[in-house]
């Protein structure tokens, strides 16, 4: 299933970057180049050959892990991307964590206090979180929590003055696991606004889906039985209804997680967060074709990997899928 999609991805990237504009070489160089130089460059990039041959050549180099050399940064594209990818992954995982915690508490709040004001408030917040895209949330949060109330920084991953040394690119996880809590707090403060903006649309989806399956669950006989046994409503909600109501939520969270990862492109840009989304923007401004191509392929591969993980997790969650 994944291989044909990957092949299709390669075709789209190839067409988008090489065929659409006509001549990639003219975009790489300034107007001063001699026709001879242009011919040499065309040969170096294999552009003097037919399109199908070019495509096969492209597939061969990409499948061996060679994504070329960045035109603007003069470094290996794969190395550049691998240096930045951890920052993006950390951001996406933190956002997923926020979305899950907030979404589940939203759903529990509105079901536990159903018919009273907390339900109305949570539902209204949910509708708003769902209606606005992360782009607007990011800008609104900057205005609210950074400009009017200066709580959070709005750019970067650490303070420029911070001289802490990290051995991996996973700053957040590394500082947490090596118990450097002041670094951890600082990185978290930088990541808070971008992660929350990314998380809000997913929070709303989780809140809505979990609420409706919780409402189904609390009308089931086993919940009535648990209540009859004398367990408190909160205990029954958390220990009996919640585990059974979680499956649809996990499914939808998986599919929506790819959207969240896609959202990092924009969020990194707004918050000047040094991940691959931000690097894509730099590549686009400089018309750095190899770098754009590399980032596009890496994002697509990450998407496909996430989808494979989701498919496999169905089997873990739902025993009925495992049988066939």
């Amino acid at each position: 299933m994944a291989l044909p999609t990957l092949l299709g991805v390669m075709v789209v990237v190839f067409v988008l970057i090489r065929v659409v504009p006509g001549d990639p070489i003219s975009m790489m160089i300034s107007g001063e180049a001699s026709p001879d130089d242009i011919a040499k460059l065309r040969e170096a990039y294999g552009l003097d050959r037919s399109i199908p041959v070019q495509f096969l050549y492209f597939l061969k180099t990409v499948s061996t892990g060679h994504l070329g050399t960045s035109i603007s940064l003069h470094q290996d594209v794969l190395e550049l991307i691998m240096g930045r990818l951890p920052a993006t992954l950390e951001l996406a995982i933190l956002a997923l964590f926020f979305a899950t915690v907030l979404g589940v508490s939203f759903a529990l709040t509105s079901v536990y206090w159903r018919g009273r004001w907390p339900e109305v408030a949570v539902d209204a917040a949910n509708a708003l979180a769902l209606a606005l895209p992360e782009f607007l949330w990011a800008l609104l949060l900057i205005l609210l929590l950074s400009v009017s109330i200066p709580l959070f920084p709005i750019s970067g991953r650490t303070d420029p003055s911070n001289a802490a040394v990290f051995h991996t690119q996973f700053y957040l996880f590394e500082s947490l696991f090596t118990a450097r809590f002041s670094d951890f707090a600082e990185i978290l403060r930088h990541m808070f606004l971008p992660a929350i903006s990314l998380a809000l649309p997913l929070t709303a989806v989780i809140g809505r889906v979990l609420k409706s399956s919780l409402l189904d669950a609390i009308n089931q006989d086993y919940v009535l039985l648990a209540r009859a046994k004398g367990f408190s409503p909160l205990y029954v909600l958390l220990r009996h209804a919640l585990p059974n109501a979680l499956i649809p939520t996990i499914t939808i969270t998986g599919t929506q997680f790819t959207l969240l990862v896609g959202g990092t492109v924009l969020i990194e840009l707004i918050f000047a967060y040094p991940g691959i989304g931000n690097m894509l923007f730099g590549a686009a401004i400089n018309r750095d074709l190899p770098l754009m191509q590399g980032i596009t392929i890496v994002f697509a591969v990450v998407f496909i990997l996430i989808n494979i993980c989701i498919d496999m997790s169905y089997a873990l969650i739902n025993p009925r899928v495992r049988l066939d």
Partner: protein
């Protein structure tokens, strides 16, 4: 006359009413911009940079909503910024809709090999983060309003195609399609005369949603400087405001307000259309 009935139906569906009115207001502002007594949105003034709007101290009466960092009138930029919004949302949504509906109809109706291939193509396009595709496309083609429209269609058509395909898969098993087959209608006629009218209500609701998305995509691309540079855009005001956020926070609030309101309006319209056009929900 049936006027009272129309009024009754309109008030029975406030989402449709408010959403429709909102869309009409956006369109009216965009179309009327040249007629309004406003300053030129591109006119710069070095003596009037980052002026606050009328409710803040230090404002200038000739700039009602203040000015940006180049001394351009924000009210005028906001009003004129509705024009690229109108162009992009109409063309972008229409293009996504046309491509997506045709692919969805053909894929759902023909089934078999063509469906497998088309579904796989849809899957491939969904394997990219949408904004990444848009940014790469505009970077390659070169910035401008029409590049923005094409990138909106590039990331929007799959939404139409998937929903339409799913709907057609259900419809084609129904009796009226069997009847059309028995009458000897050609596939072309079945697709466009029998199936298409049945999915129009759903497509209209999707179009409203897509228009909202188009506004956001345009704003994002303008924010990063990839939209048109000959016109005032809401995203362009945002980008300017982002640079002067600590000196002049109000610059950003205006386009945020405009974009948020437009997006909410269109999502209301989509909800309203769904309610109004779905006979099952209407009952």
């Amino acid at each position: 006359m049936n006027l009272t009935r129309y009024v009754d139906t309109a008030f029975a569906n406030p989402k449709l009413l408010i959403g429709g009115l909102g869309l009409a207001i956006i369109a009216a502002i965009a179309l009327a911009a040249p007629l309004l007594p406003l300053q030129d949105p591109l006119d710069q003034s070095l003596f009037a940079q980052n002026l606050p709007p009328f409710w803040l101290p230090g404002h200038d009466a000739s700039y009602l909503l203040g000015t940006d960092s180049l001394g351009r009138d924000l009210l005028s930029r906001l009003v004129w910024g509705a024009r690229p919004v109108l162009i992009v949302m109409v063309l972008g949504a229409a293009l996504s809709g046309v491509v997506g509906v045709i692919v969805g109809l053909v894929s759902g109706y023909l089934g078999g090999g063509s469906d497998a291939v088309l579904s796989r193509i849809i899957e491939v396009f969904m394997a990219f983060p949408p904004m990444l595709l848009a940014i790469v496309l505009v970077a390659v083609v070169g910035p401008g309003l029409y590049a923005v429209v094409i990138s909106i269609a590039l990331i929007g058509w799959t939404r139409f195609a998937r929903v339409v395909r799913a709907e057609v898969l259900v419809l084609r098993e129904q009796d009226f399609i069997t009847a059309a087959h028995l009458l000897g209608y050609r596939w072309f006629r079945i697709l466009f005369q029998e199936l298409l009218p049945n999915i129009i209500p759903m497509v209209l609701a999707l179009l409203a949603l897509e228009m909202g998305r188009a506004i956001v995509v345009e704003a994002i691309l303008a924010f990063i400087g990839f939209s048109t540079s000959d016109m005032a855009t809401w995203g362009g005001i945002l980008a300017d405001g982002r640079n002067y956020i600590y000196q002049a926070w109000w610059i950003m609030t205006l386009p945020i307000f405009a974009i948020t309101l437009s997006v909410l309006t269109l999502s209301l319209l989509a909800d309203g259309l769904r309610l109004a056009l779905d006979p099952v929900i209407r009952r």
